[in-house]
């Protein structure tokens, strides 16, 4: 178990490196252009260690039980957002990098990205905002090699809160995208 933990932290570190090198081009709504991808691969080459390739492959080799392992980043299947924002935090990008590698290694798997918002404001606008959050996660996954047909985005807006309260302590838990694996 301890050794396993060590392996996870090593992978997270490696993935973090990939992200640090490539994340700058992944935010916002602009489509990813070829230069961003080129920079990612050439930077990986410059690092020369092959660690990213190892990370991706390792996650790809993991079985479905990795989703149930509390020590695995794959165990985390919710990412959270600021108010009226669809921008991913760096911590969430790490979690998503693990899922991207896992999905890329398991092309038979699918994932539903369920976008949610807090209860404030207009319900249909919140459906739009939940969709926008789901699409942010989709872009991040696709950028890291997940096939588009493995991903489905569903927005529930404010209709399915994770926490029922009416203040920020509940709202921050409700502004989220949940990754729901097919066949899970």
């Amino acid at each position: 178990m301890k050794q396993q933990m060590k392996m996870w932290s090593g992978l997270v570190l490696a993935l973090g490196l990939v992200l640090a090198l490539s994340a700058c081009g992944t935010r916002g709504k602009a489509p990813l252009d070829a230069t961003v991808e080129d920079r990612g691969s050439s930077a990986g080459g410059a690092a020369g260690t092959g660690t990213e390739a190892l990370g991706v492959q390792d996650y790809g080799r993991l079985g479905m039980d990795a989703l149930q392992d509390p020590a695995s980043p794959l165990y985390q299947r919710v990412v959270y957002f600021e108010f009226d924002s669809s921008t991913l935090s760096e911590a969430d990008q790490e979690i998503l990098a693990a899922h991207a590698a896992f999905l890329a290694g398991h092309p038979e798997l699918t994932v539903a990205l369920e976008g949610h918002t807090d209860e404030r404001g207009s319900r249909e606008y919140n459906i739009g905002l939940g969709e926008s959050r789901g699409q942010s996660v989709r872009r991040q996954l696709e950028f890291q090699g997940v096939r588009p047909d493995q991903i489905r985005v569903v927005s529930y807006g404010e209709e399915r809160p994770a926490a029922d309260g009416h203040d920020e302590s509940a709202w921050r838990l409700n502004r989220r995208v949940e990754l729901v694996y097919g066949g899970q």
Binding site: K29, A30, D84, E119, R120, G121, S122, R123, E124, Y125, I127, G128, L129, E131, S132, Q135, R152, V153, V154, S155, Y156, G157, E159, R160, H166
Partner: protein, 434 residues
């Protein structure tokens, strides 16, 4: 009222009277305002000896007029006389009480199970009748007749059409043993006669009335993804009209009833489309990397107002009904969304962020002046009454979702509470017939 119109109306009433269930009632409590309301006396309607009516017609009329905020019906105990016929009315007595208008009526029973409801409205100070009708009704139509009479009184005295003989659609959510249960319900404008038109274990959203008041479009997640349905309110027959990948949301009927403006994300981003119901043809109106949603047709069908965060935060925009000539409408504050047009096309009601609070506001389209009408913190889903006098919206009270209504000038407010669960997303029907 022409005889032909009356027959048509009765036929409709008969068709609609069918499927009512015993359900939670929305109770209405007036929470603000009454100043400036005109005193009016509504005398209990006389009945033939030994006949007890299933509905208190004068009571329904009184409650309606009181809820409008424009009238202050005299409490029944303060009525100094109970005239049955015009000849029994002593105007001097009512003048002394300061009552400007008087309603009397009687219900005849020409045959078992058939009624004839007659009423007369008098101007007390001029000692003359302003209007009077005789309306045939079956027992199950009496409430509706009382609403119709309320409309006739309101229109005669204010010069504006009434909106009592209308309905509201809304969504309820109740916590059951196996998670939340959702229902789409329709009730009379006074909260009575509520009936469920759809139940689902998955969220229901965004009910929208067709302009003839016969059909509802709504969003259902019953397939674990959003789809838009159109349902006939009378028969319950329904069909799926949009189930594309991604969002299928925010349906809004064109005034001619042939098209739905909807929000779809099938092309990767929430955009507004027009769906032609006859042939399912789709026409894309917006093309922007931002969120574009919540379309609302102008009553003349020439424009659509919608919410977009293309400027960085949600604001209201207007475009022509083919998608051109986009113009920003809201400038005050950093959150304006969810607009609904008044029937005269001159105003929008919308959700406006006021500091930390989300409140209902009215935007005058000519002057672009915005006026906040409510004082809640999570107010949403405003919908104009078809006569523009009131706005119904969703708010919260005691941690629960409730409905509330506010007069379009903000002076008068009332709350509609369901006996259990959350109530949300009210949509006020158009005028039902005529």
């Amino acid at each position: 009222m022409q005889m032909k119109d009356m027959m048509r109306w009765l036929l409709l009433a008969a068709l609609l009277a069918g499927s009512r269930g015993a359900l939670a009632v929305l109770t209405i409590e007036i929470t603000q305002g009454m100043e400036g309301a005109s005193p009016i006396a509504i005398v209990p309607f006389a009945t033939p000896a030994g006949v007890t009516l299933p509905e208190d017609i004068a009571g329904i009329i009184s409650a309606n007029l009181r809820r409008s905020g424009r009238f202050a019906p005299l409490p029944e105990a303060d009525l100094i006389a109970r005239p049955r016929e015009a000849g029994d009315v002593r105007f001097q007595d009512w003048r002394v009480l300061g009552v400007g208008d008087l309603v009397i009526g009687r219900v005849l029973q020409p045959a078992p199970g058939r009624y004839e409801v007659q009423f007369q409205l008098f101007d007390v100070f001029r000692s003359r009748q302003l209007t009077g009708y005789s309306i045939p009704a079956r027992p199950e139509e009496l409430r509706r007749v009382a609403h119709r009479i309320s409309d006739l009184i309101y229109e005669t005295l204010t010069g504006e059409p009434g909106a009592f003989d209308t309905r509201i659609a809304y969504v309820t959510a109740e916590q059951g043993a196996e998670g939340k249960r959702y229902a789409l319900q329709v009730a009379d404008s006074d909260g009575h006669n509520s009936r469920t038109v759809l139940r689902s274990p998955q969220p229901l959203m965004s009910p929208a009335w067709s302009s003839d008041g016969q059909q509802l479009a709504y969003v259902s997640f019953e397939g674990r993804k959003a789809a838009i349905y159109v349902q006939d309110v009378g028969t319950g027959a329904r069909r799926e009209v949009a189930a594309f990948d991604g969002i299928n949301g925010a349906p809004a009927w064109s005034p001619d009833g042939g098209r739905l403006a909807v929000t779809l994300s099938r092309d990767g981003n929430p955009e507004i489309y027009v769906l032609h119901l006859a042939d399912k043809r789709l026409q894309r109106l917006t093309n922007n990397a931002a969120i574009d949603t919540e379309p609302a047709w102008s009553p003349d069908g020439n424009h659509l107002v919608f919410t977009s965060d293309r400027g960085g935060a949600p604001q209201l925009y207007r475009m022509d009904s083919r998608g051109g000539s986009v113009e920003r409408l809201s400038f005050e504050g950093n959150y304006n969304a969810g607009a609904d047009y008044s029937a005269d096309g001159k105003r929008l009601t919308l959700v406006h962020r006021d500091g930390r609070d989300y409140r209902i506001a009215v935007l005058e389209l000519d002057s672009k002046r915005l006026r906040v009408l409510t004082d809640g913190s999570l107010d949403e889903s405003p919908s104009f009454a078809p006569n523009g006098s009131m706005i119904i919206y969703a708010t919260s009270a005691g941690g629960r979702g409730v409905l509330a209504a506010v007069s379009a000038d903000g002076r008068f407010r009332q709350r509609l509470t369901l006996s259990g669960g959350d109530v949300r997303e009210p949509a006020w029907s158009p005028v039902l017939r005529r």
